[in-house]
């Protein structure tokens, strides 16, 4: 039994505003974050069913490394959830304020 996949996450205190804003500055990732807020923990593939897997990994890694999401391995899939409490502690109101200004559908995401 191997330790499966392990993901590195920044400490709450290490979460940096510029990196977070950069991560959120992409419509695709912003839409992912909205889905996380609405659904709680999701299977990573739900965040971009039509994306090539390596592209999806790229974006989820960026969200993880910036401190926005927590990632854990679950069997062969990968479950992702927003670090709500950590983000709220570090940058109170940020996620809510940002999503408020980016209504659903604003980014022409996915399902036509």
């Amino acid at each position: 039994m191997t330790p499966a996949r392990v993901y590195q996450h920044p400490e709450t205190s290490e979460i940096a505003m510029p990196k977070v804003l950069f991560a959120l500055s992409e419509p695709l990732r912003l839409t992912m974050v909205r889905m996380l807020v609405e659904r709680g923990e999701v299977d990573s593939i739900d965040l971009g069913p039509d994306l090539p897997r390596s592209t999806l990994t790229h974006h989820t890694s960026l969200l993880r490394e910036s401190g926005i999401v927590f990632v854990r391995a679950e069997g062969r899939k990968c479950m992702i959830r927003l670090r709500e409490d950590d983000l709220e502690a570090r940058f109170p109101g940020l996620i809510r304020t940002v999503l408020n200004g980016y209504p659903a559908g604003a980014g022409n995401e996915g399902d036509a």
Copy 2:
């Protein structure tokens, strides 16, 4: 008497969250925005006295095109101020929330 320099600004309704977040995702520009909040309208050169002028123009243009600042020519200088009301109307609380999470000095800016 020539019309001097004219600057294009997006309408309030055209200000887009991803572009704004991208503009704010750079420590240098984030620091500029803080200075604008603290000082009101400033001479553009105050935003980066040590930067090459063309670099300064690049950053101020990006802030202007994203809808964050208003720029006007004043003689040979260029005065810049935050579009506080427009930003507050479009994305309530955003600037305050962001600057709150990016304390002064966080970006090692300028004066050593």
